[in-house]
């Protein structure tokens, strides 16, 4: 069985092309089932950054042609953006994908779940089952043994991580959103995913504030109401299109009196800025603007890249293990034939000596059986090990042929 991969990703294809070959779950399952006809194994992995078809087939050429044709049916232009990998290279690629090493943001966590779902929806057999299970294992191992997925990879997730640095558990924290645009909503969703509660949404246009507040389960406020709520808020996220400051230091200073020294984190995602930079100088106030957050993201991404180097070696070791297992499959039939032949000879020789053996009692006969079996096993042990080693080093098929020739193992035994 050969492992074949045909696919495209953000490395080769722009989003306009990727979106045309992206598959819904049902489509991926249907395509996998269709390509698996004729005894093949198939898994279709489709995410926003990649569409890949993994096949296990005896005829690798034909499997590859079918996969290319299937993707070209979705979008003919994709043909020039496809990569084609086989066996060890295909397995290593899948392991890197599962570990997040091939992702746009190194170490992103979503891909592991996507690989798991693709595996579940696929039409798998011994080979793809093994390679996908091992890929999921190595993905989890990389996340457990390196810090590749620990740090935030976007401005809004950096803002949420900062909130956790200041307050710890965000469950009982009150968030005030200033501005009701997409950026505010994205930041709010990131904070909510970490347990925070969006208390208020303030916006110049009351209608938009109410609409976003409804979606987030918050209360809408006019911009003039911000100062009053500052005494209660723990995090302020500002992202309006106002030309000047929406909140100045004097207003925050007035609000501090009612806060009894509680920390206040202010995130300014707007350009031009919504929050007066002098706020940062006030006690227990921490103001981060878009440049600060981008610097944090750049630093954490460089940290992820450093961790990616460690992750690469873990993934390579896992891929080697898979390769050894896969390569051994080539020589397994020859080993099985050799052992069967040896056993056949042993039994035939014992049969010939039956006249002598029948004089022995039961325990003596068992001893003869055990000794002859041991001799066969000991004789075949080293050739078996050497053939498996040769298989891992790509000479396995040659060794298998040599063994068949030397021991006269017939075609019917293959």
């Amino acid at each position: 069985m050969r492992l074949v991969l045909v696919g495209t990703s953000h490395h080769r294809a722009p989003v306009e092309l990727r979106e045309r070959v992206a598959l819904e779950r049902e489509q991926a399952a249907t395509l996998a089932a269709r390509l698996a006809e004729g005894g093949r194994e198939t898994v279709c992995l489709s995410t926003c950054n990649r569409t890949e078809i993994y096949l296990a087939a005896e005829d690798a050429e034909q499997a590859e042609r079918d996969a290319v044709a299937a993707l070209a049916e979705l979008e003919p232009e994709v043909a020039h953006a496809l990569y084609r990998l086989r066996d060890q290279a295909a397995a290593l690629h899948l392991f890197r994908v599962a570990a997040g090493l091939d992702s746009l943001v190194p170490g992103e966590g979503e891909i592991l779940g996507q690989v798991r779902i693709a595996h579940e929806l696929g039409t798998t057999g011994p080979l793809l089952d093994r390679v996908f299970r091992q890929a999921l294992h190595s993905g989890r191992k990389v996340r457990a043994q390196t810090a590749i997925g620990h740090s935030p990879a976007s401005v809004s997730s950096a803002a949420a991580a900062l909130a956790e640095q200041v307050f710890g558990d965000l469950a009982d924290r009150s968030i005030l959103l200033v501005g009701a645009g997409k950026i505010s909503e994205q930041a709010a969703r990131n904070l909510r995913s970490r347990g925070a509660r969006i208390s208020f949404v303030a916006n110049r246009t009351r209608g938009r504030a109410e609409e976003l507040a409804r979606r987030l389960g918050a209360e809408a406020l006019p911009l003039a109401g911000i100062e009053e709520e500052l005494a209660r808020a723990d995090v302020v996220v500002a992202s309006t299109s106002a030309p000047g400051y929406v909140l100045d230091a004097a207003a925050v200073r007035r609000a501090l009196g009612g806060r009894r020294g509680r920390q206040l984190l202010l995130i300014d995602l707007a350009v031009p800025r919504d929050l007066d930079p002098a706020i940062h100088d006030l006690e227990a106030c921490y103001l981060y603007d878009i440049d600060d957050l981008q610097a944090i993201v750049a630093e954490t991404l460089s940290g992820r890249r450093r961790e990616a180097e460690r992750a690469e070696s873990l993934v390579a070791a896992e891929a080697d293990k898979f390769h050894e297992w896969h390569a051994a499959l080539d020589v397994v039939p020859a080993i099985a034939s050799l052992r069967a032949r040896a056993e056949e000879i042993r039994e035939a020789e014992l049969q010939k000596a039956e006249g002598l053996l029948e004089r022995l009692d039961e325990s003596q006969r068992r001893a003869v059986e055990a000794i002859t079996t041991q001799i066969v096993n000991k004789l075949l042990h080293l050739p078996t090990v050497r053939m498996k080693q040769a298989a891992a080093a790509a000479d396995g098929v040659l060794y298998a042929e040599a063994v068949r020739h030397l021991f006269g193992l017939g075609e019917d035994e293959r």
């Binding site: 991580a161 640095q165 710890g168 009894r260 509680r262 940062h280 610097a295 954490t300």
Partner: protein
């Protein structure tokens, strides 16, 4: 036997101090090794205290050096409540070097062997020495938490791009833990001091410099709680006050004790 147990305890505390230093530079294996150093060192010192208690018919830590030995054990015990969790490893960087140095000082003063008997009753010694030392251990931990708070607060104020690189407890968590630690420790100090003062009055002894300094320490930590609960202090100001209170603990523990224990 006590001698045999002192060295593993010291070596493991020392290993933990070095490990935490390594963890501060590059988080990972060194931090885990340090955590195990604290755990095993604490077990060795617990055994040491156990041997001291078994060899002596009574409270064996009534001397200055002996009480320092017990103080180290209490500080490490208090640290172990949180210290083994990953975000608190930086706390170990402040606690464990102090523990290792004080253990050496305790040994130099003869506090890790089997000392002579005290003319005070065991109950009095347990209540007075035990409670005062437990309170001081709590204050030490609160000061360490406050130091970590100030370090992390400074990084947040500097808006360092590396602010998320290390796993550190949140500011609010550190602030709250320091407050809770002091809230448990001050009643212990109050009770321990009260028992000592009653004995002082009963025996007709004079108030010495150590008693006065301990009284001032009590006032500072009482002010800490009052300012936090009543005046609404928190964060940086409270952390500085905790460090001032800890400076007094050090003076009381190391600079003034000779006459008191004589």
């Amino acid at each position: 036997m006590a001698e045999l147990l002192f060295w593993p305890a010291l070596l493991l505390y020392g290993e933990a101090a070095v490990g935490y230093l390594g963890d501060a530079r590059r988080p990972g294996v060194a931090g885990r090794a340090a955590t195990w150093g604290v755990r095993l060192g604490w077990l060795a010192q617990t055994a040491l205290l156990g041997v001291q208690a078994a060899r002596r018919d009574g409270f064996p830590w009534a001397t200055w050096a002996g009480s320092l030995n017990l103080f180290v054990w209490l500080v490490v015990s208090a640290y172990l409540i949180w210290g083994c969790r990953r975000p608190y490893r930086l706390l170990g960087l402040t606690v464990m070097p102090l523990a290792a140095v004080l253990l050496v000082v305790a040994r130099a003063g003869g506090g890790t062997g089997v000392g002579g008997t005290s003319h005070y009753s065991n109950l009095f010694l347990v209540l007075h020495v035990g409670l005062v030392l437990a309170a001081f251990a709590g204050f030490t931990l609160a000061a360490s938490l406050s130091g970590l708070y100030l370090w992390q607060e400074r990084r947040l104020k500097q808006r360092a791009a590396t602010v998320l690189r290390r796993s550190v407890p949140a500011l609010a968590t550190l602030d709250g833990l320091a407050l809770r630690t002091v809230a448990w420790s001050l009643p212990a100090l109050t009770l321990g001091l009260g028992v000592g003062l009653v004995r002082l009055v009963v025996d007709g002894d004079r108030v010495d410099a150590l008693v006065l300094a301990t009284g001032v320490t009590w006032l500072v930590w009482a002010a800490y709680l009052w300012l936090r609960f009543v005046a609404g202090w928190s964060g940086r100001r409270a952390a500085y006050l905790a460090l001032a209170g800890f400076a007094l603990v050090i003076v009381v523990r190391l600079a003034l004790p000779a006459t008191h224990f004589a």
